[in-house]
């Protein structure tokens, strides 16, 4: 069953089209990733799906409800962790979670149990009675996550959920989310910059660029589609023309000032390639990663785009403003 069906979803701002005729189906219980550089339209898509921004045209159904015509019913089926901080800083961490439980009409006992559970998960139990004002950027981020996970929605949206978290907390949180997806058959849609994370977690993912889906598939399938292995060469001068003549070299891409070749059975052909290109400084053979997939389809590396200002920085700005 498709729990989310996006049909011709479009969002236009004055000068640009942020989301361009998006069509996508997401199955129940799936962990689905939206990858893309900044300004690709990931967050805008998410905000439309959670009914916070109206689409210019097109629509989507979530859990069978139309996001334009039945926003109230859509909101009952979803939960979201925003990219930006959205807790009240004058309240304590615990109070923010309690407020969330009330807003989502959770029974009192369940609410208190869940608060304990998620506080433990994000390692904030000791600080739960401190005002959020006193939290560091990372702690605020964790509180935000705890809050989003608290009411176990049918569909959970996570916008860059682990941005700015240390690897250990990231692992904890992902394990919890994977469990939720499995045990509760929860559908999870995430946007992320971390390719390794997307690779490990997502059942399927879509790479979005300039508001359009460039490619869609499981991480494994996307990597296989690139065809074979990658050889990375570093050299002062490379005889590119000679390389292009080798029949088994499928693709030649510049990457980070070096050259990446895509080919099958790299270990067999390595000898010939090295002879063809002449003197080299270093060579590396590896299997393709999602970074390579991204590079292949968008023509640039995802790491070139860092998110606008770190999350912690934004949190600090916000608190200064207040």
């Amino acid at each position: 069953m498709n729990i989310i069906e996006i049909k011709n979803l479009t969002k236009k701002f004055e000068k640009m089209t942020a989301v361009d005729n998006l069509n996508l189906e997401i199955k129940e219980g799936e962990i689905f990733g939206l990858l893309g550089p900044n300004g690709a339209g990931k967050t805008t898509t998410l905000l439309m799906l959670v009914t916070l921004k109206p689409p210019t045209s097109g629509t989507a159904t979530i859990n069978g409800f139309d996001i334009v015509k039945q926003p109230d019913k859509v909101r009952k089926s979803i939960g979201i962790v925003f990219q930006d901080p959205s807790s009240d800083e004058i309240l304590t961490g615990y109070e923010n979670l309690k407020l969330h439980g009330w807003l989502y009409d959770m029974p009192d006992e369940l609410r208190e149990d869940r608060i304990k559970e998620v506080l433990k998960l994000v390692d904030l139990t000791d600080r739960k009675n401190d005002r959020v004002k006193k939290y560091s950027g990372g702690m605020r981020r964790r509180l935000e996550l705890a809050r989003g996970l608290m009411h176990h929605p049918k569909i959970l949206f996570l916008d860059e959920p682990t941005l700015g978290l240390d690897p250990q907390s990231r692992d904890h949180i992902w394990k919890y989310i994977e469990n939720l997806a499995k045990e509760k058959n929860m559908t999870i849609i995430i946007t992320t910059h971390y390719m390794d994370e997307a690779d490990k977690l997502c059942d399927r993912l879509a790479i979005i660029d300039k508001g359009k889906i460039v490619v869609l598939g499981s991480p494994k399938q996307l990597k296989n589609d690139l065809g074979g292995d990658i050889i990375r060469l570093k050299a002062q001068t490379l005889d590119l023309d000679a390389l292009k003549k080798l029949p088994y070299v499928k693709e030649i891409n510049p990457c980070d000032g070096e050259v990446c070749l895509t080919l099958e059975n790299a270990n067999i052909h390595l000898q010939e390639i090295l002879q063809t290109v002449g003197t080299i400084d270093s060579v590396e053979i590896r299997s393709p990663t999602l970074d390579d997939v991204f590079l292949h389809y968008t023509g640039r590396a995802i790491r070139e785009d860092t998110p606008e200002g770190s999350w912690a920085e934004k949190a600090m700005n916000a608190s200064e403003k207040k």
């Binding site: 916070l52 909101r75 901080p85 407020l99 809050r147």
Partner: protein, 256 residues
């Protein structure tokens, strides 16, 4: 059921935040005291109306002033909520926009009425101390005044929320409300009697809903009023009703 819990959540948050921000509570008391003591005391040495000392005369006006400034200003917090994205958390929750609006009104009204209650305590102390002769703070007059203040506050909080829901910068909000608050205050008869007004001023004052709140409270506290109590109260209720309706609409149309 879920709506009521949500409304309670919003009210709880506004009240908690208000009580924790001591500067807000303190400044809300200092300002009216300055008016009462300096303007009231200074002019009171020379001015009186219908045998009522000026300081006593403006006491209802100062109550309304406190309600007016605090209520309309409350709208700025919704602009802040948008800025710190707390608004997103609320808007994405399974609650009707109308309930969000009601929660905010209750929160803002509680803040305002807490400040007004402190002023009542000060009024009673002044009355007993003989500082404001002619002031009749009986259980009846206090209850009627509170009813007036409550209804007026609901209307005024709505004005603040309507403006706040449509604006994006707190600075812009402050600019707009000062253009709104001062005319509402000065044209309400808070500081002078509204009988025998110059011809150009009378319509402005009669068009101001706050006028009727001041008139009603002054009537019940010291027996000076231009209109009948019931007439005053009806107009104040109408004002609140219209503002709540516009506010509900504004919240439905609110964009992030």
């Amino acid at each position: 059921m879920s709506e009521i819990k949500g409304i309670y959540a919003l009210w709880y948050r506004e009240t908690k935040v208000f009580l924790r921000e001591r500067s807000r509570v303190i400044s809300s008391i200092i300002n009216p005291l300055l008016w009462l003591l300096i303007i009231g005391g200074g002019l009171g040495s020379a001015v009186s109306f219908s045998g009522i000392n000026y300081q006593t005369f403006i006491y209802p006006g100062i109550l309304i002033q406190t309600a007016l400034f605090s209520s309309v200003f409350f709208g700025v917090y919704i602009v802040w909520d948008k800025k710190i994205d707390f608004m997103k958390e609320v808007l994405v929750a399974p609650m009707r926009r109308t309930s969000i609006f009601i929660g905010k009104i209750l929160g803002g009204s509680t803040d305002t009425l807490l400040q007004v209650l402190i002023l009542f305590v000060i009024g009673i102390i002044f009355m007993i101390g003989g500082i404001m002769p002619g002031l009749k703070l009986t259980p009846f007059s206090v209850l009627v005044s509170l009813a007036f203040l409550l209804v007026t506050t609901v209307g005024l909080v709505s004005i603040g929320l309507i403006l706040g829901s449509q604006m994006e910068s707190p600075e812009g909000f402050q600019l707009i409300i000062s253009f709104l608050i001062f005319p509402l205050f000065f044209l309400s008869g808070a500081l002078f009697p509204i009988t025998n007004l110059p011809g150009w001023l009378a319509p402005l004052i009669l068009a101001n809903p706050v006028t009727y709140a001041v008139d009603g409270i002054r009537g019940v506290m010291m027996g000076i009023s231009r209109f009948n109590l019931l007439f005053d109260f009806t107009l104040v209720c109408l004002f609140a009703l219209v503002m709540v309706l516009i506010g509900t609409y504004a919240f439905k149309k609110m964009k992030l």
